[in-house]
C-alpha cells in the first residue's frame, strides 16, 4: 500500500462521469456487454460445428483422434494457471499493491505466450501430418516415419503413451468431412489465438501503465476489465478443448 502515490481522484474521472463509482460501473458493464457480443461471435462457429458434428460423427471423431490431445491438455493447464495469476493481479490492484500487480501481470503474459508457443508447435505438427485443409490436406494419413525429426519424436512419444497396439492393418482414409473438421479446428483455435494475442498486448500496456503508477486502490478499472477479457478468452478455450480434442468415443 505504502508504495503507491495516490493521484487525486477527480483527475482520474473522465468528464462525462459524475464520480469514480459511476465510471467503474460503466466500464464494467461495458466490458460485460462486449463479452456477450464475443460469446455470440465464437458461438456462431460453435453452432456450425455442432451441426456438422452431428451430421458426420465418425469423421469428426476421426479428426479428433488426429489431434494431439496431450498438447491441448497442457495448454488448458497453462491457460487456467494464467487466469489464476490474472485474478491475483486484479486482487493486487484492488489493494493498490503495485509491484505485486506487475509481477502477476508478467506471469500472466509469460503463460499466455507459452500457450501460443505450444499452439504454434501444434500447428506445425499438423502441417507436417498433412492436416492443413485446402490444397495441402492429405487424404492418406502420413506414414509413421514421415516428417521432421521433431515430428518423429512426437510420434514416438505418442506411441509410447497409447495403450493400443499400433500398426495393425490399414488406417482409415481421411474424408472430406474430416477435412472440414480441420477447417473448424483451425478457424476456432485461430480466432481464439488472435484473442490471446490481443489479450497479451493489453496486458503489456497494463504493465507499462502500472510501471508508471497509473493504478491505485481507487482506480484500477483497466486492470479489472482486461482481467475480465482474459478470463473470458480462457473460458472459450475451456470449451474448445473438449469439443475438439476429447470427443473421441463413438
Amino acid at each position: 500500500m505504502a508504495e503507491d502515490v495516490l493521484t487525486p481522484e477527480h483527475s482520474l474521472v473522465a468528464h462525462q462521469f459524475e464520480d469514480a463509482g459511476q465510471q467503474r460501473e460503466a466500464s464494467r458493464l461495458g466490458m460485460w456487454a462486449f463479452l456477450s457480443t464475443e460469446i455470440l461471435f465464437f458461438g456462431a462457429v460453435f453452432v456450425a460445428y455442432a451441426v456438422y458434428r452431428l451430421r458426420w460423427p465418425d469423421d469428426y471423431r476421426q479428426g479428433s483422434l488426429e489431434l494431439k490431445w496431450y498438447l491441448g491438455a497442457i495448454n488448458t493447464a497453462v491457460l487456467l494457471l494464467s487466469s489464476f495469476f490474472m485474478a491475483l493481479g486484479v486482487h493486487a490492484s484492488e489493494l493498490g499493491q503495485n509491484s505485486r500487480l506487475i509481477r502477476n501481470l508478467i506471469l500472466t503474459i509469460v503463460l499466455g505466450s507459452l500457450f501460443l508457443a505450444i499452439k504454434a508447435t501444434e500447428y506445425y505438427l499438423e502441417y507436417e501430418d498433412g492436416l492443413v485443409p485446402g490444397a495441402s490436406f492429405r487424404m492418406e494419413p502420413p506414414p509413421e516415419e514421415a516428417g521432421s525429426g521433431f515430428a518423429r519424436a512426437v510420434k514416438s512419444f505418442e506411441r509410447a503413451i497409447s495403450r493400443a497396439p499400433k500398426g495393425q492393418g490399414e488406417v482409415a482414409r481421411r474424408t472430406r468431412a474430416e477435412e472440414q473438421f480441420m477447417v473448424f479446428y483451425f478457424i476456432m483455435t485461430g480466432i481464439h489465438a488472435t484473442h490471446m494475442v490481443i489479450g497479451i498486448a493489453l496486458l503489456c500496456v497494463l504493465v507499462w501503465m502500472a510501471r508508471r503508477r497509473k493504478f491505485s486502490a481507487a482506480y484500477n478499472n483497466p486492470v479489472e476489465i482486461t482481467g475480465l477479457y482474459w478470463h473470458f478468452v480462457d473460458t472459450v478455450w475451456v470449451f474448445l478443448f473438449p469439443i475438439l480434442y476429447l470427443l473421441r468415443n463413438p
Partner: protein
C-alpha cells in the same frame, strides 16, 4: 469512495478454484479415454454420455471461472444478466437451428424422403470395440 468498497476476494479462494479447475481438467481427460457409452448401453442408459460428461465438465469449469475469477458471484444483478445474456442467446441459436436439422424428414410420409433418418440402435454387443480399447485404433473397423 468509502461508500462502495468493492468486495475483495481473498487469494485463498482463487487458489481453491484453480485446484478445482485442474482437477476437472484431469477428470475430463481421463473420461475421454474411457468409453462410457459401452457401460451405459449395457445398462440401458442411452448413449452420448461421453459427450455429455465432457460438456458438463466444461460448463462447470466455465461457471467456476465466471463466478470467482470474473467476480460474477460478487457483482450486481445487472452484470450477471449480461453475463447470462450471451449464453442464453447462444442457446437460442443452437436450439432453433437444431430444431430444423433434427426434425428434417419427419414425420414419415410428409417429407417425401421417407422415415426418420436415425433410429436408436440395438447393435450386437460383439461389434463394439472392447472396453478401454483405444478408440480409433484400426480395429474399430472390424
Amino acid at each position: 469512495m468509502a461508500e462502495h468498497k468493492e468486495h475483495v476476494v481473498p487469494p485463498r479462494v482463487y487458489a481453491s478454484v484453480l485446484v478445482a479447475l485442474m482437477a476437472l481438467l484431469v477428470v475430463t481427460v481421463c473420461v475421454a479415454f474411457f468409453d462410457v457409452d459401452q457401460f451405459t448401453r449395457a445398462h440401458h442408459l442411452g448413449t452420448g454420455w461421453n459427450t455429455a460428461i465432457a460438456l458438463a465438465i466444461a460448463v462447470t469449469k466455465a461457471v467456476l471461472i465466471l463466478l470467482f475469477f470474473m467476480h460474477v458471484k460478487y457483482s450486481s444483478k445487472l452484470t450477471s444478466a449480461f453475463a447470462a445474456a450471451g449464453f442464453v442467446w447462444l442457446g437460442i441459436a443452437l436450439v432453433l437451428i437444431m430444431s430444423d436439422y433434427l426434425t428434417r424428414n419427419h414425420p414419415p410420409g410428409v417429407n417425401p424422403r421417407g422415415e426418420p433418418k436415425y433410429v436408436l440402435p440395438p447393435p450386437p454387443a460383439s461389434d463394439r470395440p472392447a472396453l478401454g480399447q483405444q478408440p480409433g485404433s484400426p480395429g474399430h473397423y472390424h
